[in-house]
Subunit: 679 residues, 2 copies
Amino acid sequence: MSFGEIDKLAVSTIRLLAVDQISKANSGHPGAPMGMAPAAHVLFSQMRMNPHNPDWVNRDRFVLSNGHAVALLYSMLHLTGYDFSIEDLKQFRQLGSKCPGHPEFELPGVEVTTGPLGQGISNAVGLAIAQANLAATYNKPGFTLSDNYTYVFLGDGCLEEGISSEASSLAGHLKLGNLICVYDDNKITIDGQTAVSFDEDVAKRYEAYGWEVLHVENGNEDLNAIAQAIAQAKKSTDKPTLIKMTTTIGYGSLNAGSHAVHGSPLKPEDVKQLKQKWGFNPDKSFVVPQEVYDFYQAKILNPGVAAEKEWNALFASYQQKYPELGAQLARRLAGKLPEGWEKVLPTYTPADSAVATRKLSEFVLDKIYDELPELMGGSADLTPSNLTRAKDAEDFQPPASGLGTYAGRYVRYGIREHAMGAIMNGISAYGAHYKVYSGTFLNFVSYAAGAVRLSALSGHPVIWVATHDSIGVGEDGPTHEPIETLAHFRALPNIHVWRPADGNETSAAYKVAVESTSTPSIIALTRQNLPQLEGSSVEKATKGGYVLQDVANPDIVLAATGSEVSLSVDAAKILATKGIKARVVSMPDFFAFDKQSEEYKLSVLPDGVPILSVEVLTSFGWGKYAHQSFGLNRFGASGPAPKVFKYFDFVPEGVVARAEKTIAFYKGKDLISPVRSAF
Amino acid sequence: MSFGEIDKLAVSTIRLLAVDQISKANSGHPGAPMGMAPAAHVLFSQMRMNPHNPDWVNRDRFVLSNGHAVALLYSMLHLTGYDFSIEDLKQFRQLGSKCPGHPEFELPGVEVTTGPLGQGISNAVGLAIAQANLAATYNKPGFTLSDNYTYVFLGDGCLEEGISSEASSLAGHLKLGNLICVYDDNKITIDGQTAVSFDEDVAKRYEAYGWEVLHVENGNEDLNAIAQAIAQAKKSTDKPTLIKMTTTIGYGSLNAGSHAVHGSPLKPEDVKQLKQKWGFNPDKSFVVPQEVYDFYQAKILNPGVAAEKEWNALFASYQQKYPELGAQLARRLAGKLPEGWEKVLPTYTPADSAVATRKLSEFVLDKIYDELPELMGGSADLTPSNLTRAKDAEDFQPPASGLGTYAGRYVRYGIREHAMGAIMNGISAYGAHYKVYSGTFLNFVSYAAGAVRLSALSGHPVIWVATHDSIGVGEDGPTHEPIETLAHFRALPNIHVWRPADGNETSAAYKVAVESTSTPSIIALTRQNLPQLEGSSVEKATKGGYVLQDVANPDIVLAATGSEVSLSVDAAKILATKGIKARVVSMPDFFAFDKQSEEYKLSVLPDGVPILSVEVLTSFGWGKYAHQSFGLNRFGASGPAPKVFKYFDFVPEGVVARAEKTIAFYKGKDLISPVRSAF
C-alpha cells in the first residue's frame, strides 16, 4: 500500500468523528481513538468484509479489546458503510441508541462485546480457533472457504489483566497465525504513566509465549510502517503476531500524552484547535468529506461486496462437489441443528444403576459428539475429572505438534478458566453454528466470572460442564467445595444454571443448552453417584422445575436440586412412615422454571403448603421459591464425602427433622406461594 | 551448605511421610511432594522460623502455592517441630483433622490457604510487600526488626493461571528482592504432558517481568544446586527470583514422570518398593528415624527459638530508643487498633449536602490514613474514580523509581483485580495488624472472585472499595453496571457486603470493616450524589439493617439499600399523601443484620406487614427479608444515569406503584416475616 493526502484526510476524519461523538455525549474516552485512528484506517483499508452483510462467515474479524475506545469503532463502521448513520453517531452513549458506551455484540459490525479489559483479546483467540477449525474441516483443494484473519486492538489494560496472559500463552501454543494484534503502547492509564505499575518488557513476554512481535515506532503518523507490520504479520503463518505500536494518547489534543485525555471529553477550545490544525471547519461537527466516503467505498465496501459474491459462487460449486460436507456447512450457516439430533440423548429408568452426573454428562457427550460436527469441547486441565472428552474426540492442536490437528474439536485449555470462558465466547461468536462446551470444577467457574457475565450479556450459548458441585468433593475440602457458586450465577440474568438430579435431567440440561441460541448454560454435576429417579423425564426437566413425586394433599413440599433430590425422596419415605405426606419437587434450573407460566409454577409450588428447599449450598436465593431453606451457609470441610454430608446433617433424617419443624411452624397459617408476584 | 547422608535420609523420610499420609487417606496428590521433597529439605534447613511460635513476625514465610502438595507441608511441619504429631498426619484428609486436603490459614505454620491455583504465589507478593513496608517503616540503624524472606513453591498450574501473571508482573515492577519462588518444572499436569497446552518459555517470561531467573537442572537429587540457587536468589536484592527446578513428578515411584502419580495414591506395591529402595522397612508406615528429628531440631528448631529470643531483646531496646514507633509497632503486634480511632470517622446530618458515597468513602480514608499506620491502600488503576488515595498518601514503590518508597502505603496495582485481591490477602496474612483496602469498580470485583472467596474462607479482614455500584454508572453501560454482583458476594459465607445510603452509613461500614478481625468487607459505593438521610446514624447502621423512618401501624415496609434508600424515602412521602403509611428500612449489610437477634430482626421486619424490597440490582436473595421485590433482573443500559434510572422505573412513582400493588395483593392475608426461622 502507498499512502497519500486522502489517507491523511481520512485519519483526521476518523479522529474528529470520535472526538465529536464524545463531545456531544459529554462522556467517553477520546484518547485511544485519537492515538489509534491511523492504525484503524490502515487496518480496515486492507480488511475483507462486506458492510452490507456483517455476518458473512469468511469476513475478517475485528475486535476492539480496549472497548472504551468505541467511538473509534463507530467512526469506522459509519465510514465503511455499515448501518451506522451520522445521526446514530450523534446519539453516542444515549439511552436506546445504536452507539452505546461500549461495543455490544448485537450491533452490526461488532464481533464481541468489549469493555471489561482483557476479554476482547481472549475472545479473539476463540475467533481464531474457530477459523482454523472451520478451514481444516471444510477447505478442499481449490476451495478455500475459510481463510479470514482476526485482528485486535488492545491497550495496556488488556495486557495487565491476567486473562490475556492465559489466552495469549495458549494462542502461542496453538500457533494461531491467523491472529494479529495491535497493541497501543501509549504509556498512559487512568492512574497516569504506566511506569507506576507496568514496566515489564511486553515484547519479550510475547516472544516467550511463542508470538511474532513487531514494532511500529510512530503509530501516530507512520501509515507505511503500520501497513508493513500488518503485511509482515500475515506472513507469519504459524505464530500469532503482536504489533507493538507506539502512539501518543489523545494525539493532536492540547493534553496529548497525558491521562487527562483518557476518559473525559476534550475541552471545546481543544476541539477547535484540532479541527483548525487538520483543515476542518472549527465550528462544524460530524463532518465527513465526500472524498473520504468515496475512498472507503472504493477501498472496502465495493471489494467486500464483490468478495462475498465470489465466495457465494465458490460455496455453491463446493456444495456440488462435496454434497455431504457442503450440506453440513450450509446447515450450520443457516444456524440449524441436525434434524432429530436430540434422539441420541440417553434416557433412564429407575432400574438403571446409580451413576455420577459427571459420568452421565460424559455419556451425553459421547453420543452427541459425532452427531454435532459444530461441537467444540475442552477442559481446563481436568479432563479425567470433568469427563469432557468424547471417546471419538481428536485434540485441536497445531498439526506440527503431532498431538492433534486443527480439525480436532477438543481444546486443551490448560489451567486457564478465565481465558477458557472468553475463548468459548469467541468461538461461539464466530458463527458457523459453533457450539462450545468446556469443563472445570464448579468452584473454579468463579475464576471465569468476568467471561461468564459476558456470555450472558451477549447471549453466547456456551456450555460450562461444571463438575464436583458440592461438599461431595470430599477430601479436597473447602477450597474446592462450592457454596455460593450456583447462587452467584442464578443471580445473573440470561443464564441457565442446571443442577441435574439424574440421567434424564442431565440429558434435559444438554437438550436445552444445545438448542439455546442466545443463553449460556452452566451444568453443575456431581462427583458422586446418584440413583436414577422414579418420576424424572427429559421433557419434565426441561421446564426447570417439576413435581417428581406427588401425593394427595401434601403436608409439605420438598424442593431440591441435584444430589439432594434423591435425598429428599428418601426423606419423603421416612416422613410417610410417620404419616406425613411430602411432595418432592426437582428444580434443576431456576432460569427455565422462571420462564414458565404462573399457573404452571403454582402447580408445582402451590399456595397453602409449606415449601422447604433442600440444597447443600448456600440457601441464598431460595426465598423466591421456598418458605424455609435447609442449606449450607458456611464453608465445607475436608473428609470422605459421606462423612462430610453426615456432619452437615444432609442425610434423610436431617431433612425429616427440618420438614417436621417447618410443618409445625406454619400450622394453621395461611400460606401464600412465594412464586406469586404482586406486580 | 554441604550435604551428606543425613540429608539424603531426611529427604527420603519426607517423601515417605507424604506417601504414607496419602496412602492412609486413600486420597491426595503424591507426585509433587515426591518431586519437591529435596527442595523442601534444603529450603527449610536454611529458613528462619520458630516452630514453637508460628506467629513470630520476623519469621521467613513459606507458601505452598501448589496447595495440593500439602502432604509435603505437613511432613515438614511435623519434622521441624510445629504442633503436628504423627497421629495428626495419620488423620490426613479426615473430617475434623488438623491435616485437611489443602493447607488452611488457621493451621500453625500455614501462612495462607492454598489449593485454588495461582493464589499462593500472588499472596506471597503481598507477604513480600508487607515485609518491605514494615522494614521501611520501622527498621533503624542497628535495629533490623524486619528482614524476612518469602519463599514459594509453585507448579505449572500456578503459572498458567492469569492471576500469577498479574502478581508476578507487579512484583517485578516493585523490585521485591525478598521474594523467592521455586517452580516445580515437572512437565506434568492432570491432562498429561504440559506440552498439550503449555510450552511457553517461562524463564523468558519472568525475565520480561524483571525477575531474576535461575535454573536447577536436577531437582530430584542435587541438593547443592538447590542450595546455591537459594543463596544466589538472596543476593538478588532488587529483583524477585524464580528458581526453575526441573524435577520428576512422583520421583521414585514406578509411575514417576507420569500424570498417574499426580492426584491418586500410589499402589501398595509401589510404596513397598519405594521404602525398600530408600532403606526403610517396607512393612512400616509413618517412620521417622531419630537422627532426622535430631537433625531438624539442631538445624531449624533450636536456631529458630534462639533467633526469636534475640529479636525480642532487640525489639525491647528498640522500644527504649524509639518509644513512639516502638509503642506503635508493639500495639500492632498485639493486634490492637489505636484507642478511640473511630472518633475521626465523619458523621452527618440531613443539613449536609448530597455527596456520592465514593466521595464519602474518600473523606473517611483521608481521616483514618494518619490515624492508622497499618492501613495500606491501593486501586486497580482507577484511583481518580475510586477516590481511594488519601490526600497525605505516599505510593508504595521501589525507592529507585523516584515514584515513592517502600514506606509508602498506597499500592498502584495496575489493572489487575484478581492479583490485587490475592495480594491484599497476603498483606493481611503477614500480621503486624496490616489493614488493607483497595478500589475498583464493583462490577470488576467479580474478576477477583477467586481471591475474595479465599478472603472469606481464611478470614482475612480486607476491604474492597467497590465504586460505581449500579446503573448509576450511566454512559459506560451494561458491561460496567453491576446486577448480580452483590447477590454473588452476599451468598458467600463470612463477608460483609455493604451498600451504604449516606455518609453515616459509609462511616459505619468502615468502622465495622476496620474493627473486623476475621471477616472481609466489600463496600459498594455510588458514582452519583446521595442526600444525607434523616434517621441514619453510624451506630444504627452497624447493625446491618434498621428502621430509618417509622410510622405507627405501617401499611408497608420498604426495605432498601444504598441509592434506593433515599428513593424509598421519597416514595414514602408520596404514599403518605395518599394515606398509605410506609416504614422505610435501610439494609446496608445483610451479613451484620443476620447476626442480630431474631427479636431485633423482627423489630425491623415485623410480622403482619407486607415488605417490599427496593434495590436496583437483581432481586435474587431478597426473599429472605421481603415478600415482594422491586429489582433489576436484566442487564442495564448505556445512557445518562438519571435517564437510565427512569427507564427502569426506579423513580419515586415506580416505587409507589409497586408498593400499592403489594399492599393490595396481601390485603387480608396473614403475613409472616421472612426473617422467622422454623429451625
